[in-house]
């Protein structure tokens, strides 16, 4: 049985690069900003900011995919936009639902992982020029990590795009924002001690929200820190299991909802 359809992958990659405004956004957020920040921190001898860490990490991958790939699977064959009138024709072809899901997933992983990996390598190269010590192992780990991030985010996105249940969509959006909050609220903002009253309450609430979002983050998008795992003195199976099971769950659910859904004109 075929798992990947090259035609779907090829045309999905093509359609992701169509909108010049989206490409400009990705160029600015994914390349111009982090590269500028890196050069600035190198010139002034400062450490990398948290915004920089975000843009060059998992959040950066999520931003790239949210901009370029949202709607690439559920609404139409290759591109978002004008209704869901294209998929019945696609599924009238000898193409299984699993093949469709895997092909879309591969294409989205290539887009998100590829762009983020290029960005990471460029940033590392700038650091190297300015005298930072960069090992091959670190670069390989970074590239691998970006692809692993993209694989998980792409699977979650596919599930959301292909599942038309409004309740699920709301939960998915909420989950994404909670995860984003966990990634973006700087720990420093909740580190300070307060004297009491409203200020203390505010700090405690923020701490609670942050820890909740971190738990949700571990649950919905577990991270594999490839460099740490590669250089660890002992083998830890849990992070791998956690990552692989979540990825498998998302992909299987995406195939299941696609298989269950009737793709035809006028069916609601």
């Amino acid at each position: 049985m075929k798992i990947i359809n090259k035609t779907i992958v090829k045309f999905t990659l093509m359609s992701a690069c169509l909108d010049p405004l989206k490409l400009l956004y990705v160029a600015l957020l994914g390349f111009v900003m982090p590269i500028g920040m890196k050069i600035a921190s190198m010139l002034h001898g400062a450490s990398d900011s948290q915004t920089f860490e975000m843009l060059t990490g998992k959040v950066g991958v999520a931003f790239i995919l949210m901009v370029l790939c949202l709607g690439l699977a559920g609404n139409s064959s290759t591109q978002s936009g004008r209704g869901g009138e294209y998929l019945p024709l696609i599924f009238s072809r000898p193409l299984s639902k699993a093949e469709y899901v895997f092909s879309k997933w591969i294409a989205i992983v290539l887009i998100g992982g590829g762009l983020a990996a290029i960005q990471n390598v460029m940033v590392a190269a700038i650091g190297f020029v300015f005298g930072e010590t960069i090992t091959i192992q670190a670069i390989v780990s970074m590239v691998l990590e970006r692809f692993l991030d993209a694989a998980l985010i792409a699977a979650a996105m596919l599930l959301t795009m292909l599942n038309r249940h409004p309740g699920f969509q709301i939960v998915a959006i909420l989950g994404f924002y909670i995860w984003l909050a966990g990634q973006t609220i700087p720990p420093v903002s909740v580190a300070g001690m307060a004297s009491g009253g409203i200020e203390s309450l505010s700090i405690e609430a923020t701490k609670l929200m942050l820890s909740a979002s971190q738990y949700i983050s571990y649950l919905i998008l577990p991270t594999l820190n490839v460099y740490d795992l590669m250089t660890a003195s002992s083998f830890a199976a849990l992070p791998y299991l956690s990552y692989a099971s979540t990825l498998a769950l998302y992909l299987l659910l995406a195939i299941a909802v696609t298989g269950r859904r009737e793709f035809f004109y006028g069916t609601k």
Binding site: R82, L89, R93, E262, T267
Partner: protein
């Protein structure tokens, strides 16, 4: 059952929407032979498009069975032999016509080998202007898009074609292209189902036509040379000595000539016959049984009359 190995067999097919509140198909049974061009007509909401969805295996019936080429409709091996022309295709507007067909060539299982030839052949068949073939689809008119839609139908050389409103949005030359494609399919022995509101086109193109209403097949008519071959013949006879045995004699004559008695009284009768030779046989049988036949007039049916009789009903 018309043939020992029909391409399509549908048995007691039922399908409803909105958890059973809207019945789209209500126990449909039919079969279509290899190489047959079969029409589906009926008012809006009759269930024609839903039937096509079930034939494609894209809609799951509530009950009943669909067999295509002797297999379940949703098997990939069946889809590899099936082409589909949707009524409302949405196009990827960034694609060119060639890219669109390359995409469908790939989806139909074709490799790089032979792709360019297949694409150009399909574009030639639908007579899409050479200058338009590398243009973005966002610049296409509705008629051009429908031609491209037809091209994707033929790109994988299907053995079964399901066409939903094939002439929609086409100018007369485009309609001629549809006729050409159907005619080529007929020559190649391709089986086709055509769902259309263009009754004159259905009469012209199809071998048989099913009239659907409220999810049921009300009538299936055989068409030849643009008219329904099953037709009603009005026969008038004079006073005869068959007083007590008139009706049995007429019924025997009808039975012998494979005709159906629709009405019968002392001076005339109306019969449904298969074709001209059926009508001749009926008249011969009636005369043989002592009915002094004075007049026989065929009441030709056209597809519009199915709708008209529906309205009267």
């Amino acid at each position: 059952m018309r043939s020992e190995n029909p391409v399509i067999v549908v048995e007691n097919l039922a399908k409803s929407y909105s958890t059973g509140t809207v019945v789209a198909l209500d126990g449909i049974s039919m079969s279509v032979d290899e190489g047959e061009i079969f029409g589906l007509i009926g008012p809006n909401g009759a269930g024609k498009t839903t039937l096509i969805g079930c034939l494609l295996g894209l809609l799951r019936p509530d009950s009943g069975r669909v067999r295509i080429f002797g297999k379940d409709a949703d098997l990939l091996s069946v889809r590899a032999l099936t082409g589909y022309l949707p009524e409302r295709t949405e196009f990827e507007h960034w694609m060119t016509a060639r890219q669109f067909l390359e995409y469908h060539w790939g989806l139909s299982g074709g490799g790089r080998r032979g792709m360019k030839e297949a694409v150009e052949e399909a574009l030639e068949l639908v007579e899409l202007a050479e200058s338009a073939r590398s243009r973005k689809l966002r610049t296409y008119s509705r008629g051009m898009l429908q031609r491209l839609n037809l091209a994707q139908l033929v790109i994988g050389k299907p053995r079964l074609a399901l066409l939903d409103e094939p002439t929609l949005g086409l100018d007369p030359t485009g309609v001629a292209v549809v006729r050409k494609i159907i005619s080529r399919m007929r020559e190649d022995g391709v089986t086709a189902i055509i769902n259309s509101h263009q009754l004159d086109e259905v009469e012209r193109l199809c071998d048989r036509v099913a009239y659907l209403r409220n999810g049921k097949i009300v009538q299936v008519e055989t068409i030849k040379g643009g008219t329904i071959t099953d037709y009603v013949i009005f026969v008038r006879w004079g006073e005869c000595s068959l007083n007590g045995t008139l009706l049995p004699s007429v019924q025997e004559a009808a039975l012998s000539s494979v005709a159906e008695v629709k009405e019968c009284n002392r001076e005339w009768g109306r019969f449904r016959v298969k074709d001209h030779s059926g009508a001749s046989r009926l008249l011969a049988e009636l005369i043989e049984r002592g009915l002094p036949v004075e007049e026989a007039v065929p009441e030709r049916l056209r597809l519009e009359q199915l709708f008209e009789s529906e309205k009267k009903a």
